[in-house]
């Protein structure tokens, strides 16, 4: 048989809670409880508000460039599926998941306020800081998962990145290493349609981002990224597979409702029609509809929540803003476990010595010039 089939693949798309708030009860079985859905709704709403306030802080000069997460809050669901011991290896649009996993939200603000202490992950929390270089951190998740396997401890590494990030070579190498090492890693590609001004169709000719995982023999899946149930279920299943040595790549179909960052103006490159259509798929709207349909939510509850979230966010902002100024000595002391002598010299003289560099430099007051120059 000179022509035969060498390979075949099929990838499924999953949606459980649709745009109208209608749930597929079969698929939803053993996923989120009512309590969890209410909690997620409140949490996602809080994140939305934090985003709005962060925007204002930036505009009033109290925060640097900030990337809003607006529209992608459903990713929070992953943190409910994850266990305490699991790792989060994020980019910058999954704040909602990080907070639920235990990251104090003020850390994110601090980071964008230009303070490394925002990346100082609290002890006992298995998490890396947001990665600024795009598409490069998934390798760390692959290594972290691999380490867990080597050490025989039960941890899964969840890593998050955008559609654009999949074009970096490191994405490829991360998926391949995870596959070959049978490492417990779950790759979440948040496909929000854009990488700054670059639309999805200029990013790749692949019909889906999920299919990129086929190149590594990963399990692959595409889900509605604005659907907390689908994300939860996909994450749940991926954990089981990860523990069995089968990493998964999950593409979540979502949309960036805001600008890329506060330094961006999406109107330069994006149709308002597209945005309007996307707004109808907002992950918050559908959860609220769903809760209302089950009589778990009401206008009164909404009002009360809005008030609670205001207080929460004010609190977060206060904690980020009221922190004492960082010490310039940190610039030096954070470099190595033990600061080498020359670096210590730079630290100790940065304010007192003209160059901040060479207090030891030979000066005219140096008493022993060489005879040749005497």
């Amino acid at each position: 048989m000179p022509i035969k089939v060498a390979y075949q693949a099929t990838i499924e798309y999953m949606q459980i809670l649709d745009e109208q708030g209608v749930l597929d009860a079969d698929l939803a079985r053993d996923t989120l409880t009512d309590d969890q859905v209410v909690m997620l709704y409140e949490h996602m709403s809080m994140c939305r508000r934090l985003d709005e306030i962060a925007f204002k802080l930036q505009r009033s000069g109290r925060l640097g460039t900030y990337p809003q997460n607006m529209g992608q809050e459903a990713i929070a669901s992953v943190a409910l599926a994850a266990r305490k011991q699991d790792w989060m290896v994020p980019c910058y649009r999954e704040n909602a998941a990080l907070f639920l996993h235990g990251l104090p939200p003020e850390k994110i603000l601090q980071h964008w306020m230009g303070d490394e202490r925002g990346n100082q992950i609290p002890d006992g929390l298995n998490m890396l800081p947001m990665s600024i270089p795009i598409g490069t951190h998934m390798l760390h998740a692959a290594g972290i998962g691999w380490a867990a396997k080597l050490r025989g401890i039960d941890q899964v590494a969840f890593t998050f990145f955008g559609d654009g990030s999949t074009s970096e070579g490191d994405f490829h190498e991360a998926c391949n290493f995870a596959g070959v090492m049978e490492a417990p890693v779950v790759f979440f590609c948040q496909n929000n349609g854009w990488a700054i001004s670059t639309p999805r169709k200029k990013q790749t000719r692949a019909e889906t981002f999920a299919q990129k995982g086929l190149a590594y023999g990963l399990k692959v899946r595409q889900v509605d990224g604005n659907d907390i149930f689908a994300i939860y279920k996909a994450a749940q299943e991926a954990i089981v597979d990860a523990k069995a040595g089968k990493p998964t790549l999950i593409e979540t179909l979502t949309y960036r409702l805001g600008d890329h960052t506060t330094a961006d103006d999406a109107r330069r490159y994006r149709d308002s029609d597209e945005l309007d259509a996307a707004k109808k798929k907002d992950p918050l709207i559908r959860v609220r509809k769903y809760l209302e349909s089950k009589d778990l939510w009401s206008a009164d509850l909404e009002d009360a929540m809005v008030e609670r979230n205001k207080v929460k966010v004010d609190d977060i902002v206060a904690r980020a803003t009221n922190i004492e100024a960082p010490k310039t000595s940190d610039i030096f002391d954070a470099m190595f476990a033990t600061t080498p002598p020359e670096l210590a010299r730079q630290r100790d003289t940065m304010h007192t010595h003209s160059l901040g560099q060479f207090p030891q430099q030979e000066t005219l007051s140096n008493p022993t010039p060489h005879p040749a120059h005497a």
Partner: protein
């Protein structure tokens, strides 16, 4: 003549070279409709089409590697790397291929490519958006490394780079993208690669610098006593270095300060210092002083200005060196 910012001068150079030569092609992340994150390529895609101003996938090695391939097959490619920190993923293609093909093939395959990269600190940007890696590329054989400090030079140097038959890195000091304006001729002109500029003449001490630090040095000099006559040299080209201009100056003044944003150790200041003492040894009245960033990362922006060798630190270095 028009009164232009650095960004506008670069945009003008690109426009005119694209107009003059169909084989000039820009590629990079968000360089099209968006005009790049700094708007340097604003309007170019509308004017020249999306086949000549190309939004690429998010992949710096891919940008650099295909730019090399383009250049080998008749296109004068101008890849943009969005920030100097993202030269990292493109590093291998740049230094192990772009820089090497001519030598590797004894001239049979050449790479007429100009890599544009915003560089340096001072704009309150996140991590990896404020670095100064020029010494790395000066140490890499096969690359010409340029960094203008003014709109006039920017236009003329960029045109030289685009027309150069070899790969050039054109570092754009982002801190002064819009910091001031300068008269820039409408017509095309070139500023030669490899020629430093004496920004101010002086007889007591030579300051060597480049890029945005040139402005800090000018500010520093303004704060010095009138009777200290400082000669300020803006290298403009980092490689090949204009050794003669530096040496001539220091042989005249006998004192030298080098200022740069990058970390001290193995920075380009070391090279200038070494060169000066090799060639001006018997003229030197004081050790060459380096005033630079520290051997740490550029801190996040809250402490950015504590890291950068701002004008006051430069002034102190000059004073100390002059008093030696």
């Amino acid at each position: 003549m028009a009164n232009l910012t650095l960004v506008q001068a670069i945009n003008l150079a690109l426009t005119q070279e694209m107009e003059a030569d169909d084989s000039v092609v820009i590629l990079g992340e968000d360089v099209g409709l968006n005009g790049g994150v700094f708007r340097v390529t604003e309007g170019l895609q509308q004017r020249f089409g999306d086949h000549r101003v190309v939004d690429t996938p998010l992949a710096e090695s891919g940008i650099m590697g295909t730019a090399i391939g383009l250049a080998m097959n008749g296109i004068k490619s101008i890849p943009e790397i969005q920030f100097e920190g993202f030269l990292g993923p493109a590093y291998d293609q740049l230094v192990n291929h772009g820089a090497r093909y001519r030598s590797r093939t004894r001239g049979a395959v050449t790479v007429p490519m100009t890599v544009r990269v915003p560089v340096g600190g001072g704009i309150h940007a996140p991590e990896l958006h404020s670095d100064s890696p020029e010494a790395i590329y000066a140490h890499t054989p096969g690359l010409k490394v340029l960094m203008p400090s003014s709109p006039y030079d920017a236009k003329g140097m960029l045109i030289s780079a685009i027309r150069d038959p070899d790969p050039c890195i054109f570092f754009e000091p982002k801190r002064i993208y819009r910091a001031f304006r300068e008269e820039v001729p409408e017509d095309e002109y070139t500023v030669p690669i490899g020629k430093a500029k004496i920004v101010e003449e002086g007889s007591d001490l030579t300051v060597v610098t480049w890029g945005a630090m040139t402005i800090q040095c000018i500010n520093a000099m303004d704060s010095l006593p009138e009777d200290l006559s400082v000669e300020l040299i803006d290298l403009r080209t980092i490689y090949p270095l204009d050794v003669d201009t530096i040496v001539e100056s220091v042989q005249k003044t006998g004192r030298c300060v080098v200022a740069h944003e990058a970390p001290l150790t193995a920075g380009l200041g070391a090279e200038i210092s070494a060169l000066v003492q090799e060639r001006c040894f018997l003229h030197l009245e004081a050790p060459v002083q380096r005033v630079t960033g520290f051997d740490t990362f550029m801190p996040y922006y809250k402490m950015e200005l504590d890291y950068l060798p701002e004008a006051p630190r430069v002034a102190e270095a000059i004073t100390a060196c002059a008093a030696y």
